[in-house]
Symmetry: C2
Subunit: 331 residues, 2 copies
């Protein structure tokens, strides 16, 4: 019996090696399952990600606009902020965001940790302050104990808060999509139409920007390269960070991973369907008018990019204490 | 080996019987763990409970105001509705709500299923209509398949929607609190202070309304029995349902299960702490001014009512299709 177990183990090990060797040589690489090195920090970050007490109203958490039940986005054109303020831009998915060269559409945050501090203190989003967020968490005994256990001391500051949130977000990777299986050598993972869509996606130049394991997130590109993009949205893109006129309307290329789930599309959320997004991209960025058939093929391919969504137990938040600052939704 | 397994089984079975026999004869009974008879319906109901597409804005779900990370409530005085409208009343916890004689503070819904339809169509809450909710779900292939699998046919109507939500809510029972362990015979489950608090809770009359497995939810009682309750909140209570003047300010007695998590308290959410709530209840309902020590004892007892919170995997919602009605948060 021992011998047969050993035989199975050796076979599996060889199969694993053979599998790795068959990854196709393509401009897109399979996603690796996330490696969790500090599960306690991830667990704390998950709580914070879901905690609306990081907002002034006590109603908005990270998950409100990056909803992990809905592809890590809110599926709205632009988000809803404190007191129902209309957000300026489409909420990008948090899924696979650790693979991006920078965060936000204009890349103004260098890291997930830096990003996490933004919405908390943005008066149009969670409308809190870092000082009040820290004061709030310090007053909650359950958090104090958990910060102590994770960081080795009970002190809570905005760096630790955003560090934990980023640690959780780094686990939000979505491997094992049909396209990944195909990349890893499984010929049956894609239908003929899906494969035709991928072939066209490559041949017509989409892949010039949407490459790498996340199919995007690796460069800033002008929205409306060959033809001007008409929008009522005032965002000017990367120029807001660099101050350079040539960066106007240059945005971080969004990942196409799970794009089936992250509608509506573009920084202004104006494309409601994948068909519309593919059509606009073809015309404005590539000077090409796809036929209905071609668009349908590309859309079929794009839907193969939906991977395993993060599945986890909904966090239970430690209750406030009597001296915890109370939410102020209506003041 | 078989014999020893049998022996263990017999021992466990006897232990179970002995355990049941030791339940103390008290006006409060232990909670039973929920029995799930139709897990597929519960799973569908969980998705619907978390789906903001049942609201006009696409932003508010059942879980927004009955947040299962926070004791099944929103921890706000009154809730936030569509376009940030200020709700009229404190959001009651959904935990153990299946044990109530009726739903809502004024008991205007006879069942959880009837309740579930209310907020969806309330212009100040989710601000949708039942017709649009049905149209939305019918357009989502993932839901159509799941309704078919759960109900035997693919038709979707508001009865099935609310039936599934209610099935999920019926699982949100929180057994195994320290007080339940004590009720079941474990003398060490409560500290001396907690037991003193319970003794006073009984002796001073709290238990006249807060009895049964949920410590409440079984009757309507006047808020401000011996002394008028002063509040700026316009809710008139049960009179809104019965039309009878004697039912003014009569509200469903809230459950005290998990009361540590469901702050702030009362129908107007005006009591921020348990100490304040106990003090007000003592004076207005019982004509008794508890000392600081007595209040602290009762609060210590109340905190033993926090049971096992529902733990479940965060649901993944099926994506909208191209013809799914789009949310209208800003129109």
């Amino acid at each position: 019996m021992k011998a047969s177990i050993l035989a199975v183990a050796v076979t599996l090990s060889l199969a694993g090696a053979a599998w790795a060797a068959t990854v196709r040589n393509e401009p897109i690489q399979p996603l690796d399952a996330p490696k969790v090195t500090n599960p306690a920090k991830v667990e704390l970050g998950k709580k914070l990600f879901f905690d609306p007490r990081l907002s002034r109203s006590g109603f908005i958490s990270c998950n409100s606009c990056h909803n992990l039940s809905m592809g890590g986005s809110d599926n709205l054109k632009t988000s809803i902020g404190d007191k129902w303020q209309q957000g300026p831009i489409n909420s990008p998915t948090v899924l696979n965001s650790s693979l991006s060269l920078a965060q936000f559409w204009d890349g103004r945050a260098a890291s997930l940790q830096e990003q996490a501090g933004g919405p908390i203190a943005n008066p149009a989003e969670m409308a809190y302050t870092h000082e009040l967020a820290v004061e709030t968490l310090r007053s909650i005994p359950g958090y104090v104990a958990e910060f102590k256990s994770v960081f080795g001391s009970a002190s809570i500051d905005i760096e630790r808060i955003t560090d934990a949130i980023a640690a959780f977000e780094e686990t939000l990777v979505t491997p094992h999509s049909p396209f990944d299986l195909w990349l890893q050598g499984d010929d049956k993972a894609l239908t003929e139409r899906e494969l035709a869509g991928y072939t066209l996606f490559k041949a017509s130049g989409c892949v010039a920007c949407h490459y790498g394991p996340a199919l995007g997130g690796t460069s800033f590109q002008k929205m409306g390269l060959l033809e001007q993009y008409k929008t009522g949205n005032p965002a000017i893109g990367r120029a807001a960070v660099t101050g350079k006129d040539e960066d106007r309307m240059s945005f971080k290329v969004p990942t196409l991973r799970n794009v089936e789930l992250t509608y509506p599309y573009f920084h202004d959320g104006e494309a409601e369907t994948l068909e519309e997004a593919v059509d606009v991209m073809g015309r404005l960025q590539l000077g090409r008018k796809y036929t209905e058939q071609e668009t349908a093929d590309i859309v079929a391919f794009l839907k193969t990019l939906t991977g395993d969504q993060p599945t986890f137990v909904m966090p239970l938040l430690p209750p406030s204490a009597n001296d915890t600052p109370r939410p102020k939704p209506f003041e």
